[in-house]
């Protein structure tokens, strides 16, 4: 078994009476693009800051390459951080910003230059070396922050919601850019985000945080296709939950099930085809969002099902609020939760 690049061992962090991180254990292998996903206040940023060394865990250990670094200050750790607000030094130009880490470590000037140029090349900002941060766009600043961290060739790069401040188009571009850079440099990336799309797109593995704990760790496919808990299911996609009573009425079994919206459609046949389930109900909400329409139906069996209807042709009817409709889905698309409640068994172990 290889030593993990980063490991947290039952790490807990309390701020006064608030427990931000609650007994988290996780191992991250070298070269992984590992995302910490969760809503704000779930403890993912605190976790990242403990890995960086900005926060001291209340209990537990942080290991880098098997070495206990829990009490090491940030400047002694071979990790670098890309901050949410980029934290570029406003009084230095781009090149000086990028060179800063090398200068602090006493790297010779010529080598410093060379490596800074290379880092700026990696983020495609060769021509911007003499600019001051306030003369750059948000995306460019983001890339300077990346170059400033990468130039130090850390073992692990920590990214704290680095794309949060960018508009959607730029964010998508930067996602591709980040993925490319990570492939090129081969450094372990630990990426904090609250955007499940981003996490699923970029990561080799994702840890889903909730209330200071990890609900599930897995590949994006595992997380999406086999959510371990109701929280993961609903946070990672807008998922409908069919509770035990509704399941009994609708499916003839008393096990709670979940269902993805894109697997729910409007029934076209009067009776359910083989392997399908039909459920009558009333339209409770209609949301149009460009490439599709999301319809929430309160089914008579006592659950709320969300259906994602693609927008195909003009004139195709979309149900209106209050309409009586029948929705339909394949029995095989129903997913079972590993656990119904979050914290009743050990979590966060590598699957």
């Amino acid at each position: 078994m290889t030593t993990p690049a980063v490991a947290a061992r039952t790490v807990t962090k309390r701020f006064g009476t608030i427990t931000a991180v609650d007994g988290v254990s996780v191992e991250i292998a070298g070269g992984e693009f590992f995302s910490l996903l969760g809503p704000s206040g779930s403890g993912k940023t605190t976790m990242l800051r403990m890995i960086a060394g900005f926060e001291l865990p209340t209990s537990g250990r942080i290991e880098l390459d098997g070495e206990d670094v829990t009490r090491q200050p940030p400047f002694d750790r071979d990790v670098n951080t890309v901050f949410q607000d980029y934290a570029l030094f406003p009084h230095m130009n781009v090149r000086k910003n990028v060179e800063y880490g090398l200068r602090v470590k006493g790297v010779a000037k010529s080598e410093r230059r060379e490596r800074a140029e290379a880092a700026l090349h990696t983020v495609r900002l060769e021509a911007f070396g003499e600019r001051k941060p306030d003369q750059l766009s948000g995306g460019q600043r983001q890339r300077v922050a990346l170059a400033r961290a990468l130039v130090n060739e850390p073992k692990v790069l920590l990214l704290d919601e680095p794309l949060g401040a960018l508009d959607r188009k730029l964010r998508e571009e930067m996602q591709l850019e980040l993925a490319r850079i990570q492939r090129d440099v081969g450094i372990t990336f630990i990426f904090v985000t609250h955007d499940q799309g981003e996490a699923l797109t970029l990561s080799s593995r994702v840890a889903v945080f909730n209330a200071g704990r990890i609900e599930q760790v897995g590949t994006p496919r595992e997380i999406y296709e086999a959510p371990a808990t109701e929280f993961v299911a609903s946070f990672v996609g807008t998922t409908s939950v069919i509770g035990e009573e509704a399941a009994a009425a609708l499916l003839g079994e008393s096990t709670a099930r979940v269902l993805r919206p894109e697997r729910v459609r409007m029934a076209t046949a009067a009776t359910a085809p083989e392997g399908c389930v039909q459920a009558p109900g009333t339209v409770a909400d209609v949301q149009y969002h460009g490439d599709g329409t999301r319809v929430r139906v309160e089914i008579d069996a006592g659950a709320s099902l969300v259906a994602e209807l693609p927008n195909r042709h003009e004139g195709e009817s979309v149900p209106a609020l209050g309409d009586r409709v029948t929705v339909e889905f394949d029995r095989s698309d129903l997913m079972t939760l590993e656990r119904s409640t979050s914290h009743d068994q050990p979590i966060g172990e590598k699957p």
Partner: protein, 297 residues
């Protein structure tokens, strides 16, 4: 019975109101003209009067007892200020005090303001702000005479407790002035540190810099405008002060002491000497304009 004038007045008022509604700049101008004119008269007017007076001179009248004002323009007073060693010495002493007070305040205020802006809890921060600004509520003379009581070589508190006192003199003037103007240094610095994002400090640490390096390479450059703003206060306030010399300065004299004495004997010369600190401050402000510190004021 109708009053013929009432609707007429109304009409005028409406027309005026309509004019101002359509020309908001004119409305603003009209509203600002009174206080603006007032400012112009008080500030610019008095300054102009000062400079004009400095160009006049006194001539002895035949009795030799009194002097008459000769309002022909000349630079004789400035000539005297520059050529007489004592006036140069006093000006330099005053400048030296202003610079020393500024340095003392900066050295003490920097770590305190850093603590207030970056380390202390919200509660401690509020208490420190109150503590630092509290002395501003006490009068100048109250503080001056309190220090006199402390410094008195004939049984002041320092003498009694430590067996030694600075006594009254140049050093005491500097110490007390540094105390007096301290809040004017701390508050801009505190504001500067408060505005300095934590992430900049963390980024520096993250990139391998220890505390000292971070302070020199990141904190100081960011805080320079605030430091300059605070320095402008401490420097100019010291430059213009003279009364603290009378309270704790022993025989020390600053520019203001000479101006005060000459005021009742040779007004044009007093005016010329009073122009010196103004020239120094204007020069200083022009020099620091580039640093962006003036935006901090």
């Amino acid at each position: 019975m109708t009053e013929p004038s009432a609707p007429q007045v109304h009409g005028v008022r409406r027309r005026v109101a309509r004019f101002f509604a359509r020309h908001p700049r004119a409305a603003l101008g009209a509203q600002l003209s009174a206080p603006g004119g007032w400012l112009l008269i008080i500030y610019i007017g008095s300054l102009a009067a000062l400079i004009l007076t400095s160009l006049f001179r006194l001539v002895d009248d035949p009795t030799g007892l009194v002097t008459k004002l000769d309002t022909s323009i000349g630079f004789g007073n400035f000539d005297r200020v520059i050529s007489q060693p004592v006036y140069r010495a006093v000006a330099l002493r005053t400048l030296g005090a202003a610079a020393t007070v500024t340095v003392i305040d900066a050295v003490i205020a920097l770590p305190l303001a850093f603590y207030m802006g970056k380390v202390a809890s919200q509660r401690a921060r509020r208490m420190l702000v109150v503590a630092v600004t509290l002395p501003l509520w006490a009068g100048y003379l109250v503080k001056g005479y309190a220090w006199r009581a402390l410094l008195d070589p004939g049984g002041g508190a320092f003498q009694e407790v430590f067996g030694h006192s600075l006594g009254f003199g140049y050093a005491s003037s500097i110490v007390v002035l540094a105390y007096l103007w301290f809040p004017f240094m701390v508050i801009p610095l505190y504001a500067g540190f408060d505005r300095l994002p934590d992430s900049l400090l963390e980024a520096s640490t993250d990139l391998g810099a220890k505390a000292g390096r971070t302070f020199v390479s990141v904190v100081v450059p960011q805080i320079v405008p605030s430091l300059v703003a605070g320095s402008i206060f401490t420097f100019s306030l010291t430059l213009g002060d003279f009364y603290m010399n009378r309270i704790v300065g022993g025989t020390t004299e600053f520019i203001g002491n000479i101006v005060y004495r000459q005021f009742s004997v040779d007004l044009p010369f007093a005016a010329a000497y009073a122009v010196i600190p103004i020239v120094i401050m204007v020069g200083l402000l022009l020099a620091v304009r580039r640093t962006g510190a003036l935006d901090e004021l």
